[in-house]
């Protein structure tokens, strides 16, 4: 098992979390505070380029140069452990660190561009950051502290039928670093178990894409929603109440489009969609509006979570 940090963390802001599900950021802070994680946010850090990169507007050079700037900010404030709320930010930043360390020509090209244009303070030296030791997703940090979760649980969510959707860009891109399985991903199932709940575990299409496909959702929606419908049908076959996510791209695809895909499939899909940090924050007693951010959700959280029962001590 790799060493998972609990301090010197830069909590990397996500463009989609910020404007689509801000409760994910509030819930991450709430849960990190409960678990004693040392983290900070920087107002200088910018978006990983995600949607632009995977819609092919940003080349690898563009994305890696932006990455080098963000990595320098993390090091400057003494927080070299980048922790991402979004699976795509995680995949992109880890890839950029790998490239900057291994591809001397790319690193030299970026450093020369910085040097020649008054940006030499942003230069990246080989191994400034390490992909395995410094680049994490929030789920990794939660997993590292999973022994501390149980003592912070206030509400019993074990009566709900719970399933997990592990984002492709967490599990499949840098699979050598993925905790809890790639072909049968389980990191979130293990974290949820620490809340006193049992997920349904494996289900048909568990490891399949949410269907976003970046440009596919916008430019090729029929193709995108066909993939999503496969997964929504599989989740409905298991009569799932709560589908737990780790990526805002997937979260959007399921929560925002469930209504549309229900009509398309002629089937009433009823699961609510929570990020893993929102699930934990809920179980730890976080306020619906002030922590979970339920107003940002399209499928109402209250349609499933009608009342909360405190855990018996």
């Amino acid at each position: 098992m790799k060493n998972i940090p609990d301090k010197d963390i830069l909590l990397f802001r996500s463009c989609l979390v910020s404007v689509e599900y801000p409760g994910v950021e509030a819930s991450t802070k709430f849960v990190f505070d409960k678990l004693g994680i040392d983290y900070a946010i920087s107002e200088k850090q910018t978006c990983c380029t995600g949607l632009g990169h995977y819609s092919d507007v940003f080349s690898q050079l563009d994305t890696t140069a932006i990455g080098a700037r963000n990595f320098k900010i993390a090091r400057e404030i003494g927080r070299p452990n980048l922790v991402m709320m979004c699976a795509t930010c995680y995949a992109i930043n880890k890839k950029s660190v790998k490239l900057l360390n291994k591809k001397d020509d790319l690193r030299d090209e970026i450093n020369e561009l910085f040097e020649e244009n008054g940006l030499s303070h942003l230069k990246y030296e080989k191994d400034d950051l390490k992909p395995t030791e410094n680049i994490f997703h929030v789920v990794d940090i939660l997993y590292g502290k999973k022994d501390k979760i149980k003592e912070n649980i206030k509400y019993d969510l074990s009566d709900y039928t719970i399933a997990t959707h592990h984002g492709c860009h967490y599990c499949k891109v840098h699979y050598e670093d993925t905790i809890g399985g790639v072909r049968d991903p389980n990191i979130m199932d293990e974290i949820i178990e620490e809340c006193g709940c049992k997920t349904i575990g494996w289900y048909d299409h568990k490891r399949a894409t949410c269907g976003t496909g970046f440009r596919q959702r916008y430019s090729n929606p029929d193709l995108s929603f066909t993939a999503t419908a496969d997964k929504m049908n599989a989740v409905a076959d298991e009569d799932v109440d709560i589908l737990v996510h780790l990526c805002p791209n997937c979260h959007i695809q399921f929560d925002r489009y469930q209504h549309l895909i229900s009509k398309r499939e002629g089937r009433n899909f009823r699961a609510i969609h929570l990020n893993i940090t929102q699930f934990l924050a809920l179980a730890m007693g976080g306020d619906f509006d002030k922590v979970i951010g339920v107003k940002a959700h399209t499928v109402p959280i209250e349609s499933v979570i009608k009342d909360l029962r405190e855990v018996s001590k």
């Binding site: 949607l51 507007v57 080349s59 140069a65 499949k172 894409t209 209504h259 549309l260 509006d289």
Partner: protein, 154 residues
Amino acid sequence: MVFDYNPRDIIERVLDGDITILEDENIWNCFYCYTCHSVCPVGNSVCEVNQILKQFAIANGIAYDKLYEYMGFADSYFTAAIGAIPEIFFEDIDRDVPGWWDFRQNLDEIREELELDPPLMPSDEVIDEVSKILTITGFKDKIERIRQSQEADL
């Protein structure tokens, strides 16, 4: 819907040096889900090959039209250092997602209730630095070429 995306066919054509792959619509149908990448027994990564093919296509001016809808993302990042869903898609989202537009109108209020800071808009200093980076990597020129092509197509 006809969908004949075949990762094996793409790799075979690349290995054969078949340059016509750059003009094949199928390379644009990849989801970047990395399933091929994660299971390939010989370490191929068709999705990353696709990504490189698309960059070749763009560099050769073959596929500018594929990027027209995403110019809003480029503009937002270049001028405001913010990654954002392009506004050109807002009408579709508003049609397909009940309550989304109202939610977006109330975003500041929701963020305030969640006590989130710092604000969404980066400082001028950050924006200047990011714009400079994207100028020296050639991004700005590329976007201008694509926009000229888009205007010529209208």
